[in-house]
C-alpha cells in the first residue's frame, strides 16, 4: 500500500466514522425537543423518562462525535498540508462559523445534560433549542466546505499557486452548497430516525412491548419516514447540481461512457473500463437525461469526453450510487407500508415482517449514508479541489502513514466497541419506579 493510498483510507475511515455520530448530533436533539415538549404539554412523566434516558444516549454520542470531529480538524493539516496551506483561508469562514456552532452546542449540551432536575422544566426545554440549531448549522457549514471542494469558487491564484484574492462569502455560498447541505441534513435525520426505530423494533420483537417502547419506536420511525420521503426531491436537486457542475461525477455514478441524448437510467450493471460500456444493467430510456436535466431528450456527457487521468474509479462510484438510491427507495417503500398499516388502523407490533424490516432499515440507512459519501468523495477523485488541485499533490510527505492507518483501524474499532458497551450499560439502567405499562 502506498502512503498516498493509506492517507486516503485514513481520511475515509475517520470521516466515515465521524459522519455517523454527527448524524445523531443533528437528529437526536430534534427528537429530544419533541419528547420534552410532549411532557410539558401533557404532564405525562413517561415522556420525561424518555427524554432523560435519550439525553444520556445523546451525551455519549455527542462526546464521541466531538472527539472524532477533532481528529478530522487535525487530519486536514496532518494528511493534506498542501491543500490546507493553499486554500485554508478560502474555506476558513465556514469552519470559523462551524467552530461557533460547535461552541454553542457544547455549552448547551453541558447545561442540558446536567440540569434536568435543576432548572424549571420550561427553561430546561429551551436549552435544547440552541443544541438543535447549532447541530443543523454546524452540519451545514462543514458540508459547505466540502461542497466548495466540489464546486470551488470565490478565489484567485497567482502564478506561484498562492491565493491572492478571496471572497469568503462566495466560497461559503458556493453553487454546490444548498443542495449538498440539504441532502446531508435529511440523511442525518433518516439515520437517526431509522436507527432509533430499529433498536425499539428489535426490543418489541424480543417481547418488550411497553408503552415506553411503543412511543420510542413511533418517534424514531416518524422521523425516519418523513426524512425518507423528503430525501426523494432533495436528492433529485443534488443530482441536478452534480449534472451541472461535475459532469464527470454524474457519468461515473451512472456508468455512462458515451455522450448521448435520451441517456438511459441504468439500474444495476457493471462498468467495464476495457470495453468502455456498462453491461447487464436494466436501462430506462431517457431516465438519466430526465434526472439530470428534467428533460428526457437532453444530452448527457459521457466519460469518454474526459481524459483518462481525470476519471474517478468508475465502478466504485457507480456501485455506491446504486446502493444509495436502492436503499433510499426501499426506505420510502417502508414508509408507505407503515402509513398504509396506520391508515388501516392495524397496530405495528402485530406484524413481524414489518418489525424486522424496521430493524433492517437502521443499518441500511447507515449503508446508504456511507454510500452517498463515497459517491461525492470518490466521485471527485483524482481532485481534492475539483479541477484545481489533485489529491496526490495535496498529500503529506511525512513517513509512516501506512502504520498510522493500521493503528487507527484498531483505535476506531475500540471506539465503536466502547460506544456500544457504554450504550448497553445505559440501556440496562432500570426504569424509574412508577410503572407506565398501562
Amino acid at each position: 500500500m502506498s502512503d498516498f493510498f493509506a492517507a486516503r483510507l485514513q481520511m475515509a475511515l475517520t470521516l466515515g466514522t465521524h459522519i455517523i455520530f454527527a448524524c445523531f448530533g443533528i437528529g437526536l436533539p430534534l427528537l429530544l425537543i419533541f419528547v420534552e415538549w410532549r411532557f410539558l404539554k401533557t404532564g405525562d412523566e413517561l415522556w420525561r423518562t424518555l427524554g432523560k434516558r435519550w439525553s444520556k444516549t445523546f451525551g455519549v454520542l455527542f462526546a464521541v462525535g466531538a472527539v472524532s470531529g477533532t481528529v478530522l480538524s487535525f487530519e486536514l493539516g496532518l494528511l493534506w498540508p498542501e491543500f490546507m496551506g493553499t486554500f485554508g483561508a478560502v474555506i476558513g469562514l465556514p469552519f470559523v462559523l462551524e467552530g461557533f456552532a460547535f461552541f454553542l452546542e457544547a455549552i448547551f449540551v453541558g447545561i442540558y445534560l446536567y440540569t434536568w432536575d435543576r432548572l424549571p422544566p420550561r427553561v430546561h426545554w429551551f436549552t435544547a433549542f440552541p443544541i438543535a440549531l447549532s447541530g443543523l448549522a454546524g452540519g451545514t457549514f462543514v458540508v459547505a466546505a466540502n461542497a466548495w471542494m466540489n464546486v470551488p469558487s470565490g478565489f484567485k491564484l497567482n502564478k506561484d499557486g498562492r491565493v491572492v484574492d478571496a471572497d469568503p462569502m462566495t466560497a461559503l455560498f458556493n453553487a454546490g452548497m444548498p443542495a449538498q447541505a440539504a441532502h446531508m441534513i435529511v440523511a442525518a435525520l433518516m439515520v437517526t430516525g431509522f436507527m432509533v426505530a430499529a433498536y425499539y423494533a428489535f426490543e418489541t420483537i424480543k417481547g418488550r412491548n411497553s408503552e415506553y417502547n411503543r412511543r420510542a419506536l413511533a418517534m424514531g420511525l416518524g422521523m425516519g419516514i418523513i426524512a425518507a420521503m423528503l430525501q426523494g426531491p432533495v436528492g433529485h436537486e443534488a443530482g441536478h447540481m452534480v449534472a451541472k457542475y461535475q459532469p464527470i461525477k454524474l457519468a461515473a455514478m451512472e456508468g455512462h461512457f458515451k455522450t448521448t441524448d435520451w441517456a438511459p437510467l441504468r439500474i444495476g450493471g457493471i462498468p467495464n473500463m476495457e470495453t468502455r460500456e456498462t453491461t447487464m444493467a436494466i436501462e430506462i430510456p431517457g431516465g438519466l437525461s430526465m434526472i439530470a436535466f428534467n428533460d428526457p431528450t437532453a444530452t448527457v456527457r459521457g466519460l469518454d469526453e474526459f481524459p483518462d487521468e481525470n476519471l474517478p474509479p468508475v465502478a466504485v462510484v457507480h456501485f455506491a450510487f446504486q446502493a444509495m438510491v436502492g436503499i433510499g427507495t426501499m426506505l420510502m417503500g417502508l414508509g408507505l407500508w407503515t402509513l398504509w398499516r396506520l391508515w388501516k388502523k392495524k397496530p405495528m407490533e402485530d406484524n413481524r415482517w414489518l418489525l424486522w424490516a424496521i430493524v433492517a432499515a437502521g443499518p441500511l440507512s447507515i449503508v446508504a449514508l456511507e454510500a452517498g459519501w463515497i459517491v461525492t468523495e470518490v466521485g471527485r477523485q483524482p481532485w481534492i479541489v475539483h479541477g484545481v488541485m489533485r489529491t496526490s499533490d495535496a498529500v503529506t510527505e511525512a513517513p509512516g502513514v501506512v502504520p498510522l492507518f493500521i493503528v487507527t483501524v484498531a483505535i476506531y474499532a475500540g471506539l465503536v466497541v466502547g460506544t456500544v458497551v457504554t450504550l448497553q450499560i445505559l440501556s440496562r439502567i432500570p426504569m424509574p419506579e412508577p410503572s407506565h405499562d398501562a
Binding site: 469552519f95 447545561i111 458497551v421
Partner: protein
Amino acid sequence: MTPELIVCGILLVAITLYAILGGADFGAGVWEFNTAMRSSKKERDLLYRAIGPVWEVNHVWLIFAIVLMFSAFPVVFAALSRALWIPLLLALLGIFARSVGFAFRAYAAGAVRQQAIFGAVFAFASTSTPFFFGACAGAIAGGLDVDVNGKFHGDYLTGWITPLSVFCSFYAVGLCSYISALFMSCEAMADNDAELTAVWRRRALTMGVILGAFSTVGLGIVAKYAPELWTGFLSKSLPLVAISTATGLISMLCVWKARYQFAAGAAALTVACVILGWGVAQYPWIVPPAIDVQSAKGPDSVLWAMIIVIAAGAVVLGPALGWLFYLFKGQHPNNSKAAATLNQNTTTNASQ
C-alpha cells in the same frame, strides 16, 4: 490596526483560555495519573463532578484556535502539520483517549470494571496530551526547519525533539496540574470539605514549588537554545515576564493563606502573561526563523470577514458561556448536588 494583528490577538486569547481552562481539566487527570488512581472515592467524585459539565466546552477553545490558525495563517498550519507530525499525532491520540475515556466513564456508572478501564485511559491520556502539546510549543519557540511556503526540510520523526521542546513538555504537564490543584481547592472549599481542601492545598503548594524551580531552569534553557527568543524576553516582553513572575509568586502566597480563588486568578494571569510574553517576544515571527505574520497571512477580505463573524459570535457566545459557568461554578446553592444527578442510576431524584 491591521486585521492580521487583530486575528493574532484573538488567536493568543484562544490559546490562553485553552491552556487555563482546558489545562485545568487535563490537570485533574494528571493528578489521577500521579496518584496512580489510588485517590479516595470522595476525592475522585469531586474531581469528575468538577469537570463534567464544562470539559467539552473548554476543549472547543482548541478547535477554535486551530480553525483560526488555518483560516488566517494557512501556511503556518501546513508548516506545523508537517514539522510537528509526530508530536501532533501523539497529542491528538491523547485528546481522543482523554475525551472518550471521560465520557464512557461518566456514563458507565455502575459498571465497575468498565469504569476502572475508562478511568485509567482518561488519567493516562490527560497527562500525555499536555506533554505533547508542550513539546509542540517548545519546538516552535526553538525554531523549526520550515520555509516560507510551509514546506519542512528537517527530519519528520526526530526534528521536533530539542532541549526546549523536552523542557516544555514537562513544564506544560506541571502547569496543568498546578492550575488544576488551585481550581480543585476552590471546588473542595465550596463543598465545605476541609479534608479535601487540605489535600488539594498541599498538592498546589508542592506543585507550585516545583514549577518555580522549573521556570528558573526554563529561562536558562531559553537563553542557551533560543537566543533570539531570550533577547525578546529581555526587551519587548520584559514587563510581561515580570508580571508573570509576580503573579506566580502571588498565587503561591494566596494558596498559603488559603485564598484559593485569588490563587487561581493569579495563576491564570501567570499563564496568560507567559503565553502573551512568548508571542510578543518572537513577533513578527509566527514560526521562527522563516514564517512571519506578513508572509503567512491570508487575504485581507478573509481576515476581516473572520473578525466580523467572531465579533458577532462573541455577542451570543459570551452570555451563554457566562450562564454555563454561573450554573456550575458560581456560588449556587445546588451546585454540590447538581452534577451528581447524571451519574445516578435512577431518575427518582428530587433536588428541587
